[in-house]
Each structure stands twice: as C-alpha cells, then as structure tokens.
C-alpha cells in the first residue's frame, strides 16, 4: 500500500488538472460558438429577456396559455417532480381538484378533452411544453379573455406546434404566449 500511496497522490493531482481544468476549459471554449455563448437560449420580448427557451414558467392569468402543474411552482432555482405514487389517495384527490378547477375556469370544455398533462406535475417542475391537445383545450378561454377570434388563436397554436418524427408533438408555452402578446398588440 505504501509504495502505491505516493504515485496515487501524484496521479490524482495530474488528473485533477486534466479532468477539472483542461477538459471543462475545452468544453467551455467550444460552447462559446454555441447559441448565446453556452449560457442557455433566452427569449426576448419588447427589448427585455422574458425567459429561457427551455425553462418553463408560471402562467395564471386567463389571457395566457397555462403550463403544466409544477411541484416547485416553476421556481427555477430548484427543480423536482411531485414524487407522488400512482395509488396515493392524497395524490388522487389533488388531481381531481386540479381537474375541477380547470373545468370551472374553462367553461364549455368537456372532461374528455382535457389531456392528462394539465392535471399532472412534470418531472422537473419546469416543463416548458404542452402537447397540442393541452394547448387546444385552452384556446376558447384565451380567445375570450383577449377578445380575439378563436380561429386566429388556434392558427397561432398550430404555427407553434413542433412536429417530430420520433418523439411526441409539442408546443413551447412561453414562445406561444410571447406570440400571443405580439398578436394582441398589433
């Protein structure tokens, strides 16, 4: 053991330089060529940064599309899921309550139109997306609150739906809401 201690110590020091200095520096240098110099892509609206492309945020006002429920209330200095088990009675009551609230705030919507993502919390608590169905079910409410033509809002949703060959289709909520604000101010 003794004869290995000194080499182990020295090798550790050398590898600290390689793995913790040279390697991150190379990644950092490469990332400078990436969008927004490797600091994450942001979205600007009316000359100010309103959020990150990939980080979901909270929308509670009726004139915005709402994102999914979040276990951390969209506090992006943390991140977590609810970690509730599927059979937990307290969890089932929470989901039921979310559904009731949603139906109340979206009159005219039938239960079967509400996709499960709108009453279940995401894994990160910062999910930036909705499925196209999750946006479609909110169109009537948003259009009413903004006194816009529902068809126009629906078209905006269609325009912001990202189709993909392999994964599920999705809508970025923040981008959609920014586009909505631009549409309303026009």
């Amino acid at each position: 053991m003794k004869q290995h201690l000194l080499p182990a110590f020295r090798l550790t020091l050398v590898l600290l330089v390689v793995c913790c200095l040279i390697y991150p520096a190379l990644v950092w240098a490469g990332a400078q060529l990436a969008p927004n110099s490797g600091q994450g892509e942001t979205i600007s609206h009316r000359g100010r940064v309103v959020g990150y492309d990939n980080v979901g945020q909270k929308f509670t006002r009726p004139e915005y599309f709402w994102a999914r429920p979040s276990a951390v209330d969209y506090n992006s200095t943390g991140s977590a899921g609810s970690n509730k088990g599927p059979s937990n009675p307290e969890y089932q009551a929470t989901v039921q309550a979310r559904l009731d609230t949603f139906l109340l705030q979206n009159p005219g919507v039938a239960k079967a139109q509400v996709p499960a993502e709108l009453i279940t919390a995401s894994g990160s608590g910062l999910d930036p997306h909705l499925s196209p169905a999750g946006a479609a079910v909110q169109v009537a409410r948003v259009a009413r609150a903004r006194q816009l033509d529902a068809a126009k809002v629906q078209a905006l949703v269609a325009q912001h739906t990202q189709h993909s060959l392999l994964g599920p289709d999705r809508v970025n909520v923040l981008r959609l809401n920014v586009a909505l604000d631009e549409l309303s101010s026009r």
């Binding site: 053991m1 201690l5 390697y23 994450g40 239960k111 894994g123 909705l130 994964g167 999705r170």
Partner: protein, 566 residues
Amino acid sequence: MINELLGIGAIYFLTLVLALPLGHYLARVFKGEKNLLDFLRPVENGIFRLSGIDARREMSWQQHLVALLTINLVWFLLAMLVLSTQGSLPLNPDQNPSMAPDLAFNTAISFLVNCNLQHYSGESGLSYLSQIVVITFLQFVSAATGIAAAVVVFNALQTRATDKLGNFYNYFVKSLTRLLLPGSLVVALLLAFNGTPMTLQGKQELVTLQGDSVAVSRGPVAAMVAIKELGTNGGGFYGANSAHPLENPNYLTNSIENIALVIIPMAMVFALGFYLNRRKLALMIFGVMTVGFVVLLAPTVYYELQGNPAISHLGVNQELGALEGKEIRFGAAASAYWSITNTVISCGSVNSMHDSFMPLSGLTQMLGMMTNAFYGGCGVGLLNFFAYLIIAVFIAGLMVGRTPELLGKKIEAREMKIAILVTLLHPLLILAGTALTAHLYAGNPTEYAGWLANPGYHGFSEMLYEFTSASANNGSGFEGLGDNTPWWNISTGVVLLLSRFLPIIGPVAIAGLLARKKYVPESAGTLPADTATFGVMVMAVIVIIAALAFFPALALGPIAEHFSLY
C-alpha cells in the same frame, strides 16, 4: 404512439451500431495494438512521468487491487475535504453552504463508487468548485476504475498460465485518455449546442412574461452531464437530473444522453470477444443480457403508455400515457425506455420521476438493479456477469458430470466460494437494509414520518428502492424519500462501500486465480460456454439468485400496489 415506439427502437439500434466498432477499438487499446488515438501517447507518457509511475511494470491480481484501493482512498479524502469546506472555497457564486459531515460522507462515497445517490439538490447543495473538482472528477475516475478492473479480468482469461496481468495505472489512464475524455468532449459539445449551459456565471434573475420575478440556475452543466452519462454515473447537475430542461433540452439530447450511458457497458461485452478472440462467447453474453433487458423493458413501456388507471377513472384524455413526473418533450415511451436502461445499467440518471411510475414499472426498475448484470455499469456490469458465469459453469458441470471449466481453466471450490459470496452479498445488503429500516419506521412512524412521501405499499417500495439502488451502485431513487437524514446517509453510505469494492475484488481475485492455472485445451469432455444452451443456463442462475431472492419483498411493495390499483 407509433412514433414514440419508433423513437425508442431508433435509440436502441443506434446504440448497438455504435457499440460494435467501439468494442473493437477498446480491445485494440487495451491489448496495446495500433489504434486511432495513438497520437495521445505522449500525453499519457507525460501523465505517467509526472506521477512517477512505470506503466510497463506488470502486476499480479493482488497488486492490481492494492493499487486500485489505495488511489480510491486518496479520492475519498479529497472529496470529503472539498465538500465539507465548499462554503468558504472559491467558485461559489450562489453562496451555497458547506455540507454537514454525514451528508459529505454519503456524497463522497456515493460518487467515489460510481453510484451517485444524491441526498442533496445540485442547485442549492453544491458550489461550482464541488461540481467540478468532486463530482465531475469522481465521475471520470470511478468509471475508469471499473473499466480497468474489467480489463484485468480480460487479461487473466487468456489461454496462458501467468501471474502477470498488466499494469493497473496503464489500464486506468488509458480508459480516461482513449475513451472517457474524448467521448465526453464530443457529448458535452453536442449538448452545449442544443442549449445546455456551460458557464461559470451564477443564477440569472429575470422578470417573466407575466411579470413574476424568478431566477434561473445555470453552471458548467454540459461538461458534467457528458461524463455523468458516459461513465454510467448518473448524478445530475440539477436536482431533477436529466428531466431538467437545461440538463436535457430536447428529444435529440435525450437520445444522445441515453446512447452515451448504454454504449460503454455494451461495447465492453464486444471488447471481451475481440480481446480474447472468442466472439461466440461475447455473443452468448450479449444475448443473455439483451433478453433480460427486453423482458424488463416491454412491460414498463406498456404500462406507462396505458397510463394511470386512477386517472383514467376521472374521464380525462390519457392518450399520451402516464405523465405524472414525466416531461412532454420525451413522452411516456422514451421515459420508460430511459428508466430501464438506467436501472439495468448502474447509471441511475433519470429523465422522469421513478416514484410516480406505475407499480409494475417500479418493479421492473428494481429488478434491473437487483440483477445488475444486464449490460451493467462501466466495466463492473461485466464483472457481475462474470460471477454469475462462474456459478453457471459450476452448476452445469455438476449436472452433466463434467469438470467445470471456463475457457480452458478449471473452476474449483475456491473460485466458486468467492463467486457465491459476491452474488449473495447483493440480496443480503438490500434485504437486511430494508428490513432494518422498515423495523425502525414501524416502531416509531411519527418520528420518521418525514421519510416517506407516500403511504402504504408504495411507501415500502420507496425504502426497498433506496437500498436496491445503493447496493447496485445505481443512484436513482424513488425521490419522494426524505433521505438527507443521518440514518439514510450513513446506512446507504456503508452499503455503497461494501457493494462497490467487494464485487470488484471478488471477480478480479477469481480471474487472478484462474490465470495461474494450467490451460487445458478444449476436448470432447469440455462443456462449451459459448452456446445458446449455456446462455439459458446462465439466465436461469440469474433468475434464481437475483430475482427469486427478492420476490417476497417485491410482493410486499410493487406487486401489492399493482393489485390495489388495477
């Protein structure tokens, strides 16, 4: 749903296509044959010279183990020191505090042993210095340790009788320079170009579209996430791991990360075949592993796409499957696929919250860790499989009345004892740990109320999962568990240590003992180990030892929950 299934098919296919040439390349690297990255030799020689190491000195299996354990001890002390003083060290823009001793102990061990159980949350629990010098560093070297140990076994299984099994430092450093560092660089850059942050700046404060003030955590994420996956470590930069939209921004990065974590364990199997020039044997091992993987994968994907029956009862649209704890951009199928790859392989990163999966999906996740040899962790997966292989050879030999031999070397009582001890240690640690904890909880449910986030069967599953994850060196969790308490930190810390080093020491010792024995050429009396029949035999051993030992515990947790829900 069809495109979601196509998605996971594509991810698996791509992994396989990339793992084959990688296995070939690795065999050449560790045999010292000419290969693509030979231009790095001066760098490696420089590393050896600065460290005062003669990388050509051949070592016996005992010397390998002493070298391995000594350097691991050095890393442990380094990690403890940095974690418990990080609050007053530089590179801490968010002013996160130093860790309490029990949490520092658990974290240092957990990353040292390639487990990455995290009883803290990255955003608030670690400084950037710790993220780089402790977390990223240990993610590199612990993966390289596992690979180096596996290569010692490769070397020992050759047809000659010898004591000299190559040089530990040589295998270890080459695992870094020829595989983990260049691979991570590629993955990290791919991530950075897809929106994963790579910066030393702290949180960004901003006002949201609706007018709320929030802050967004950033950091040197891309560099760390790359080695987290490639080294089958699994400990995330952020609390939500690869479910976090900055750590895993889109379906493409999800596929890249998922391929990265499977590729080395898979390539190591092929590397074994190329190294020993026994491709049929590698094919048998790969076949058994793949069958085990698919058997666990299929029901998980099915149940997650079906959705939660309790939510179906509400009458809502559950076309996309069970979405509690999952992200829209990945969907239920890719989340289920990820969860099984991450549990059969001791990576343990998550892109969705396992606690909220359907009960039988929780069961398949746990079985993945309980068997711990379907692909398995970087290097160590193959070591675990090797122990099963020894047992299967011995039992099959006895059954047909032939001398138990593996690759021309006789398996005798001594090797058999070690293999049995190593394989039985795993159920012992998991079941004893869970039993003890359940006893504590049952004795005083009010005092330990903070432990469990869910009542009933699911609460039991949370405890069982935690010990399974610790003993499999996996690191994922049913994260509802309130696990940052002295009991959890210390008990799982001890389990981690035992379950990492004994399953490395055991197989390396067996291989070392076998290497010394005289080579007996194969004859009509040899039981061939590279046939499908023998594959079935190995699978039977795995099912009996690993799966059945856990059946009673699984019946109390996920199986009971399943029947309460369906």
